[in-house]
Each structure stands twice: as structure tokens, then as C-alpha cells.
């Protein structure tokens, strides 16, 4: 690896960490006060008539547990797709941050498992595309393995060109279909 690429990698990783940190902090500190105030204050309904009262407010307590980072749209973990060039299985620099975020999450949560699903665009041979999709899934898997993710947490499958998400016959559609998806179980 050239020093240049190493630098870029480090920068990506740092950026990924920064985004992760920024995303989680304000949510942890979000005050539950407005909800609490409304239910206990004078503006609330009569005590004892909670089910019948149209002004009743059921309380959901989100203070004890943080939001699942997998479903938090602000987390890099919400990005579950890695896109590839035609006939290529190289994970491009712009997707290394996504892969690393998932790697860290999986290392920190050894009970979580995922399937990496490889896909290809419609051009060329279906069987070759099935193999190419597998190669893309394996490329993502080997990156995760390097980040310390256990083999038992990961499974790969390829759908080749059989399950396109975009159905157009243009580069924009094809680019969306040349993809590996990280699907948590």
C-alpha cells in the first residue's frame, strides 16, 4: 500500500469515528423533560381515567437505552451497501468507512451476525455475474475479517443479476445493481 493510500484510509477511518461520535452524543443527552412535564403537570388529564381520557399521553421511556445504532439514520451503520465498478470486486475508498464502521460494530457486538449479499448488473453472463456477486460479497467479508470480525458472524450469498433494485438500462441503474448489501439477522 502506498503512503498516500494509507493516509486516505486513516482519514476515512477518522472521519467514520467522528461521524459515529457526533451522531450518538446529542441523542444520549436529549432531555426527556417535555414528556415528563406534560404527564405530571396540571394540564394533564384526571388521575385514574387514563384509558378513557382522549388527552392521555402514554409514556415511552427512551432514556435508559440508546437508540440502536443499526437503525439510527445518522450512524454510518445505517449505510448497508457497498457499490462497485463494472466487472470489479474492489472495495472503493469511499466505501471503506462504511465497511470499517460495520467491522467495529461487529467486533463490539460479537452476538450480532450478518449476511453479505453480492449483486451484479444485467450485462454479460448470468453465471459469471453470480460468481462476480459472490466475489464482491467475499471482498467485503475479507475486509471485515481483517478488522477482527469472527468468521462465525458472517455469511455470504450472491444473487448475481437476478434481483436488481434498479431496472433501467442505463449506467445509473447498473451502478445501483453492482452492489454488496450488509444484512443483519
Amino acid at each position: 500500500m502506498t503512503p498516500n493510500r494509507l493516509m486516505r484510509l486513516a482519514a476515512c477511518a477518522a472521519a467514520a469515528l467522528l461521524i459515529a461520535a457526533c451522531a450518538s452524543t446529542p441523542l444520549e443527552e436529549q432531555p426527556a423533560a417535555p414528556v415528563t412535564d406534560a404527564s405530571s403537570g396540571a394540564a394533564g388529564g384526571k388521575p385514574g381515567g387514563a384509558t378513557a381520557d382522549p388527552r392521555a399521553v402514554a409514556r415511552v421511556d427512551a432514556t435508559s437505552k440508546g437508540i440502536d445504532p443499526l437503525t439510527d439514520p445518522a450512524s454510518p451503520l445505517s449505510k448497508r451497501s457497498v457499490y462497485f465498478d463494472f466487472d470489479s470486486f474492489v472495495v472503493k475508498p469511499e466505501f471503506q468507512g462504511v465497511v470499517e464502521a460495520h467491522g467495529k460494530f461487529l467486533v463490539a457486538n460479537p452476538s450480532r451476525r450478518l449476511t453479505i449479499e453480492g449483486n451484479a448488473d444485467e450485462r454479460g453472463s448470468r453465471e459469471y455475474n453470480l460468481a462476480l456477486g459472490q466475489k464482491r460479497a467475499e471482498a467485503v467479508k475479507s475486509r471485515l475479517r481483517l478488522l477482527g470480525v469472527a468468521e462465525s458472524q458472517m455469511e455470504t450469498v450472491s444473487f448475481g443479476e437476478e434481483k436488481p433494485v434498479a431496472t433501467g438500462a442505463d449506467e445509473a441503474s447498473w451502478a445501483q445493481n453492482r452492489r454488496a448489501d450488509l444484512n443483519y439477522k
Binding site: 466487472d87 444485467e122 450485462r123 454479460g124 453472463s125 448470468r126 453465471e127 459469471y128 453470480l130 460468481a131 462476480l132 459472490q134 466475489k135 467475499e138 455470504t156 450469498v157 450472491s158 444473487f159 448475481g160 437476478e162 434481483k163 431496472t167 438500462a169
Partner: protein, 425 residues
Amino acid sequence: MHRLLAHAFALLAALLVLSPATAQLRVEITGVGSNQFPVSVANFRRDGEIPQPVDEIIRADLQRSGRFRMIDPGATPLAETAAVSFAEFKSRGADALVVGSVARLADGRFDLRFRLYDTVKQTQLDALSYVSSAAELRLNAHRIADRIFEKLTGERGVFATRIAYVVQLAKASFELQIADSDGASAQAALRSREPIMSPSWSADGSRLAYVSFETGKPVVYAHTVTTGERRVVANFLGSNSAPSWAPDGKRLAVVLTRDGLSQVYVINVDGSGLQRLTRSAGIDTEPVFSPDGRFIYFTSDRGGGPQIYRMNADGSGVARVTFSGDYNVSPRVSPDGRLLAYVGRRGGRFQVHTLDIATNQETALTDTALDESPSFAPNGRMLLYATEVGRRGILASVSVDGRVRARLSGPSGDVREPTWGPFIK
């Protein structure tokens, strides 16, 4: 009034075009073959209600083969009993003439008869009668076309053989269908909500192997066509795909990812005797046996992009076969072992090519952009392939010289992966 008439006429014409029998028989000739044999197929005499346009089926078969130039027979039906003016057909340019009839019998069956004449020598070359149910009438028309083909070219006809292909009818609706060689009379052998891929006929035409995603991942099955009986051939960890029968019908070449990336293996039909054949650091896929069983051709990206390679059937002696272009996939060997058909990308277009294995002469057979899955007819004279028109997958045939292409418009839906079945005994 005139306009009203014109409208009525247009409507009538549209109805004629849209009637299923006509739609199934559309042949688009896009080139002119050299050394085509000029033949005229007269309209057959019809007695009673006849469910199939037998004369049209025969004409379309002969035309699609690329070996014949069809000479207009005129509108008058000519039965096999008719007195024929050889001089008249000779002057029209026809060296051979087909006449015949089809009659509905009292028991509801049909009597289909034909006679083939050499108009130059003024002799009869062939004559036969078939009595059959309505269901078999179309097949018998194909059988007549086969006899005419054989009498006039000296080679066996393929019109009575069958093809298999995959069709996607909706987002979660896939079928493996079997149809006549012209795409008509389609029947579903398998229905699934998940993709089906890579059908492959056994050499005796009794079984199809294929890949089905019905369990959520690609698994290889072998399927007996007449009974629908299926067995799992390969269901290992990872992906199982690209089945191809060995000529003996006992083993299959398959592609598995159980040991890492896609590699070629052989396995017995019952799933026993797994043996790994290739050991590359890249993708090895789409294995096909040569008809004599000595070689396996396959696609590999071991040299960078995908190219076609050949190895001995035991995995030894790997050699690269294709060298032009940076993307060549889906190899198929002609029945005589002399030609290799494949899809090559040239200038961004994916087209069917053949390679003369002895001379390395490459020929482009199509001029479309998204061709897939070439498959030789059992006599090696035509190829079937999948291509796209208006974002819909269709089947097309091309003569092996590339001069006559025809669209098979029988199957509806998004059609792909045709594979031509063997001669049926």
C-alpha cells in the same frame, strides 16, 4: 364511408396479427443466406376445422434454418393428390415443392399428409401421412419440416426437438418452461417465487439440471421432465450453480463456492463423488463438456477479465481459448466439436460469436447489444440465444453462418437462458 372501411380493415389486420398462431410464427429474416435452396411450400388443403396452420409452421421452420429461400407458391391449396405442374414451379424458381392436406377424421383425430417433389428431375422425394390428436398436429408439422430438411440438405432437421428456458412473469414469479423449437406450445416444468437459472439438458433429453433460489440461495437440482421428480445435486455451503451434464448422463460439472471463490467441480447426479477440477485464485464458472466428453470449456477471470479456457475432463492441461476482446463468456461447443459459441463484448456491446477451434477464426453472429446464453441446435446448424427488445428478454435464433436471424415470439414475459434440447429418438 371510405374511412370507415379503412378503419374496419385496419382492425381486422390488427386482429390477424394478434391472433396467437400468427404471433408465434413471426420470423424476421435480417440477412440473406448464401447457397440457399429454393423451395416452395404450397398451402395445404383443409378438410374441416383445423386447429394448427400446418403449412405455415413448415414454412417458418424451413425459413428460420437459413438453409432455404422460400418461393411464393400462390394462393391455391395443393393437396398431395393434386396434379402438379413442375414447369410452373420451376419457372418461379423453386427446385423443390411441398404439397399436402390435413383433414379432420370422424373420430376427431387429424390426418396430415404431405408430398415432396424435385421439380427439376420431376420426381417424388418423400411422402408420408400422420394420423394424430389435435395436440400432436403441430409436432407432426415439425416432423414434416425435419423430413424435408433432411431430404434437401442431407442433414438431420431439428424442428421436432424442444427447447427449455427461464421466464420471469412478475417480480416474484419465475418459470422453467419447455417449448417446441419455434417457441410455441410452452409448458411450465417448474414454478417458483425465486429466480431460476442455467437450465441444462441431459444428453438423452429426459432430464434438466438447473439452479433454483427457492431456498434463498443457489442450489443445483436435477429434474426428470416427464414425471417432475427432482433431486438436489449440489447444496453445499455458499453458492451452487452452473450445472452441465457429462455426455454419459451420470455426472455433472458444477460450480461451487464451498472452498472460497467459484470453482469447477464434478459430481454424480445423486450428489456423491464430489471432485474439484480447477484451482485458481479467481472465478472459474460456466463449465461445459465437449460432446465427446474429453474436454471441459469454462469461463475464468484468472488472466484479468473473463475469458474462455479449456481443460481435460480430469482438470489437467488448462489452456486459454479466446484472445480477442476483454470479455468473453458462456461457452458452448458445437455437436461436431469444431465450433465454440460464446458471448463477447466488443465496443460495449454483448454479442454472440463463434470461434473455429482449429483455425481460431472468430465470427460475430449478431448485431444486438445485450445477447446472452447461446445454445447450439443438435445438428449444429443454428443457435438459440437470449436478447432484449424494449427492455424485455426475448429468444432469437441465428443460422450458424450469421446470415439469417429470427425472433421467437411465442413465450411471453421476460425470457432468458434458452437451451436447445437434443434429438429425440
